[in-house]
């Protein structure tokens, strides 16, 4: 009897205590929140860290799906960036970035933490995971991704929610064109730049009398790349025989490649990326396109957007093929070397271009906060807009204020015919200067939208 009573009162006591703790735990939050607002000159904004000792960043990368290996490499780069921001490791590009406001003690004295999400390379999944990180984990910034479809979807969400989005690998003109956002920033280059950079090299290598056949991934990136490359090659005097859209993830491309064989075309342009690129290129080579003679000329294949990770997947098929890339680990500048050294020491292999852009984006965001002296997004955005920097692997670079696109040199690369190591798959053919790939900010219809949301 007595025993039972004790148990009962014990349970009631527990309930009371829990309730009291709950109230106690929730009440002060209100005060603290107001306190923060005051500390930041009356500005309040989503996920304001206030007096907290740390801030959280959200890394939204494809952890499953066709781009999972790229996503994994992006995540490695993010982890390395966070380490360097917090003053751990050898500091990587913090040693070479100019100008630099960061001190290697976190950002504005706060330690950097991170959470990760899985985009699954699907727009809806990517939005859901970004939303979760913003609402549940309280992240100040979202970065990552390996598809323009995803980047554009997440960028739109970030604008609505007032959280800055530092895009990962995205190459569609639309990301900083008609779908640009005030809260979205892209360090990676775009399809138009690929076209501009490739033009002169194509003219030199393949002449001005060519007939091109496009196979194009059927989504925003593919469309804009096809348009940009077509524009460039037609300016050279090439004719476009046919452009064919292929569904993303088509797998067997033979039914798209066989019509190329007797179309009269002597160049095949593959506007494919990832798995699609590996498959279409491998199969094009199997169908003898690389050894074919058409119109008295050697048949050529061009892959406008190249990546070393994909070159690995395509094996020997990649050898001798021209394309462009945002960055390559074999660049000899101090920034690239510092990053490759640090990444290589940590993981035992060099970083991909996806890893590079994600690493740089994280540092750029952190530095902008440091310079702005606040995490208040409109101020951070202003600190990034028009920011000129160097020592990040691409030479002097500018974050153009009008459309949030980075302008820098572009690499024209060729699949290495005689690789000296397993990573030596692309050789840099030419570093195309920034002014050759520049275009007016209004060209792709960018309207950034408001600072305050």
């Amino acid at each position: 009897m007595t025993k039972k009573d004790t148990t009962n009162s014990g349970r009631r006591g527990f309930l009371k205590a829990t309730a009291a703790t709950g109230v106690a735990a929730s009440a002060p939050m209100f005060f603290i929140k107001d306190g923060h607002a005051a500390a930041h000159g009356g500005m309040n904004f989503r996920n304001n860290p206030g007096k907290a000792k740390s801030i959280k960043l959200g890394f939204n990368v494809p952890q499953t799906g066709a781009y999972a290996d790229e996503g994994a490499d992006e995540l490695r780069a993010f982890k390395l960036a966070v380490k360097h921001l917090n003053g751990e490791g050898d500091g990587g590009m913090l040693n070479t970035m100019k100008p630099l406001a960061l001190k290697g003690n976190g950002v504005l004295g706060k330690k950097v933490e991170y959470v990760t999400g899985d985009t699954q390379t699907k727009s809806d999944a990517a939005r859901a995971s970004a939303k979760r990180m913003i609402e549940k984990d309280g992240v100040l910034m979202i970065s990552g991704g390996s598809s323009s479809g995803v980047a554009i979807a997440v960028q739109g969400l970030c604008q609505e929610m007032g959280v800055i989005f530092m895009a990962g690998l995205t190459h569609s003109n639309d990301t900083t064109g008609k779908d640009c956002r005030r809260y979205g920033f892209r360090h990676f280059f775009n399809a138009y730049m690929s076209g501009r950079a490739l033009g002169p090299v194509l003219k030199k290598e393949y002449g001005t009398d060519r007939k091109a056949y496009h196979l194009t991934a059927d989504y925003t990136w593919g469309w804009t790349q096809e348009e940009s490359i077509k524009q460039t090659t037609e300016e050279l005097g090439w004719k476009t025989v046919k452009t064919v859209r292929t569904p993303v993830g088509a797998g067997d491309f033979s039914q798209y490649i066989t019509p190329v064989l007797n179309s009269g075309a002597d160049v095949l342009i593959l506007n494919h990326y990832g798995k699609d690129m590996i498959n279409s290129l491998t199969q094009a080579v199997q169908f003898g396109l690389k050894d074919k003679m058409v119109n008295g000329k050697q048949f050529e294949i061009i892959v406008p957007l190249f990546s070393r990770l994909m070159a690995q997947g395509a094996g020997d098929a990649i050898k001798g093929i021209l394309g462009t890339t945002n960055w390559n680990w074999q660049l000899k500048d101090a920034g690239s070397q510092a990053f490759v050294k640090s990444f290589g020491a940590e993981y035992g292999f060099p970083p991909s271009q996806a890893a590079h852009t994600c690493y740089v984006q994280t540092l750029l965001y952190a530095d902008a906060c440091q310079r702005a002296g606040t995490f208040y997004p409109p101020e951070v955005i202003k600190a990034l807009e028009g920011f000129n920097f160097d020592g990040m692997g691409n030479g002097p670079t500018e974050y153009r204020a009008e459309d949030h696109q980075c302008f820098k040199d572009v690499l024209v690369v060729r699949g290495n015919p005689n690789p000296t190591s397993q990573f030596d798959l692309l050789q840099v053919e030419q570093i195309v200067p920034r002014k050759q790939v520049e275009y007016p900010p209004t060209q792709f219809g960018c309207k950034l939208g408001p600072y305050k949301v």
Binding site: T64, G249, S254, Q255, K275, I278, N279, F287, G313, G344
Partner: protein, 338 residues
């Protein structure tokens, strides 16, 4: 003419792959009455059998890569190459054909284990339950493969001798320009051989006769004192072998990734339904028919008349055939109609 010949070849080639998968699928359905959504995963497992053999043969010694000076990078040199030089290199080159020898027993084992371990518990359940459990199994297999092999496709090249293309144009007297990849021709030949072997096995052996009798009337065969169930288990294993070998041979055409089975699964179900549920001849005929139709629909001349036809032709044909012949091309009365 060139264009038509190459589309026929390409269609036969695609059809070969569809027919092989559909054959296994309808074999399992006709004998065990199981709608096996994990069949695509078996195809994928076969392809990864080829990948595994390639990786086994290229187990390598890590040698410091002196060409990279920023950090410690390592080159991998296969032991076979270190030990046997050119012979070793040649063995590695023939990884895919060699893998077939391993894929056959491996897939037989997988098939039998799958039937005994999981599927036999679902004979008395509805088709919906069977679909759910086999679909679940397919996802588990996929994720296991992804966890081990990663998500990116793994190049698994054919032997160097047959990696180029065959001058089929010159062979048919149609001009030098017309070429077709050797390995795809081999695939076509192999699928023909496998289909022939399966039919011969069912037609000309006692075992096959019992299986056919069991497919027609399971109860009567059982009353004759024959253990039909055990034979059906073996047939299920055989279906797995057919799918696995089809997958392993497909590896040089399409670098395998964990998702390749799913891509084929839906199509092969359409093939089975068009061919007639439970009809082996129907599955093979429908496989080749749909392959060739798809190939012709992909010609630019056709697409300029009806844009996008290549994406829907198979389903369109399926709808038409099922409207005219609701049991499919060669469907038998009474199958899946109770």
């Amino acid at each position: 003419m060139d264009a038509i010949l190459i589309q026929i070849l390409n269609g036969l080639d695609k059809g070969g792959a569809y027919a092989l998968i559909a054959l296994g699928l309808t074999l399992a359905f006709g004998t065990l009455g199981i709608v096996n959504f994990a069949h695509g995963a078996l195809f994928m497992l076969g392809a990864f059998g080829a990948v595994s053999v390639q990786q086994l043969l290229t187990i390598s010694k890590r040698v410091k890569d002196e060409s990279i000076t920023f950090f410690d990078a390592y080159k991998e040199i296969p032991y076979l190459e270190i030990w046997w030089g050119d012979t070793g290199r040649m063995i590695i080159d023939y990884a895919v054909p060699i893998s077939i020898l391993f894929v056959i027993p491996f897939m037989l084992l997988i098939g039998v284990l799958m039937e005994r371990g999981l599927i036999k518990h679902f004979y008395k359940r509805t088709h919906a339950d069977q679909i759910l459990v086999t679909f679940g199994l397919a996802i588990v297999l996929q994720e296991l493969v992804k966890a081990y092999f990663g998500a990116n496709p793994i190049p698994t090249p054919a032997p160097a001798v047959v990696s180029g293309s065959a001058p089929v144009g010159a062979f048919f007297g149609l001009g030098e320009d017309l070429v077709y990849p050797w390995w795809r021709l081999i695939y076509l030949l192999a699928s023909g051989l496998i289909i022939f072997a399966v039919f011969a096995f069912l037609k000309f052996t006692t075992f096959g006769m019992v299986v056919r009798a069991g497919m027609a009337d399971r109860e009567t065969v059982g009353l004759l004192g024959i253990n039909v169930q055990r034979r059906f288990t073996i047939v299920f294993g055989l279906a797995a072998v057919v799918a696995g070998v089809a997958g392993a041979l497909y590896a040089p055409i399409l670098p395998p990734d964990y998702h390749m089975g799913m891509d084929f699964l839906v199509l092969s179900f359409v093939v089975v339904v068009v061919g007639g549920m439970g009809s082996l001849e129907g599955a093979v005929a429908a496989g080749f028919l749909l392959g060739i139709l798809q190939s012709f629909a992909s010609m630019n001349e056709v697409k300029s008349i009806i844009p996008g036809i290549d994406q829907i032709i198979i389903y369109l044909v399926a709808v038409v055939i099922l409207l005219v012949r609701p049991r499919g091309l060669m469907g038998r009365e009474g199958v899946m109609e109770d």
